[in-house]
């Protein structure tokens, strides 16, 4: 076990060995985004049309719904990490920084949940007749 720097040792703030976690998670989700968004792009471009029936019929397919859910989760994890870094750089007021991080977390988890719910509804119910 490392003990951090001298001053950190004195303060009892040695390395927690989590320093690279944020950085690595940003890269893992980046790879996920790269593969899944390119898959979505090529799939949409090769669909016969982008009308309601074509799109919903396509998403309802299990081999589409599952990777699409993974894409939504990967995207919202990645944007949470990325926007966190931006806010840390530009929001200097402590209270405002806390509040903006709160809003960011609500946005990221809410957005991911909404996306997964929408895909699940399409997968289970399919085309809705007007």
């Amino acid at each position: 076990m490392g003990n951090g720097t001298g001053i950190g040792r004195v303060r009892g703030l040695g390395s927690a060995r989590h320093g690279a976690h944020h950085w690595l998670a940003q890269r893992y989700t980046a790879v996920g985004n790269l593969l899944l968004t390119l898959w979505l792009l090529f799939s949409l471009l090769s669909l016969p049309g982008l009308d309601y029936e074509s799109v919903v019929g396509w998403i309802a397919n299990p081999v589409v719904a599952v990777p699409l859910m993974l894409m939504v989760v990967s995207i919202f994890m990645h944007l949470r990490l990325g926007m966190q870094v931006m806010l840390e750089d530009y929001v200097h007021d402590k209270g405002l920084a806390f509040f903006s991080m709160l809003v960011l977390n609500f946005y990221a988890f809410g957005g991911a949940a909404a996306g997964v719910f929408a895909i699940a509804k399409i997968a289970f119910i399919g085309v809705v007749k007007p």
């Binding site: 890269r27 980046a30 939504v72 909404a114 996306g115 929408a118």
Partner: protein, 131 residues
């Protein structure tokens, strides 16, 4: 942060000479946050509209295929490819490669050329199919 306002700040964007590496770095943040907000909300709107039914989907398509809708989609697709290519550049830099001045400049410029080319190609495909 607890700091006195009378103390000088370190020189920021206004003082440096612009170069490709600086531009690609700034654009990575701009495109990332643009995609994180407008792009992600658009994606959720599209999925929610498809999940809600034909009328909601028709409203989405009507907005997306309006002149402003196309402008937003073309802009976001360029943001997407710019972020993608400068993200790939990040992977190379993360491995400790590509820091030589000439190479760094070359690949910085390459991300802009690649993103513009691929954006153009994608929209040519889309508009070409519609014809």
């Amino acid at each position: 942060m607890a700091r006195s306002n009378s103390r000088p700040l370190s020189p920021h964007l206004t003082i440096w000479k612009w170069g490709p590496a600086m531009a690609v770095s700034i654009m990575h943040r701009v495109t990332g946050n643009g995609l994180a907000t407008a792009g992600a909300l658009g994606l959720i709107w599209w999925l929610m509209a498809a999940a809600t039914g034909p009328e909601a989907y028709a409203t989405f398509v009507k907005c997306a295929t309006s002149p402003i809708g196309y402008l937003v989609m073309i802009g976001l697709s360029w943001f997407f490819f710019q972020h993608l290519f400068s993200g790939l550049r990040h992977f190379v830099l993360d491995m400790g490669a590509g820091y030589e001045l000439k190479n760094n400049k070359l690949w910085s410029i390459a991300t802009f050329i690649a993103s513009l080319l691929v954006t153009g190609l994608v929209w040519l495909t889309i508009f070409g199919k519609a014809l």
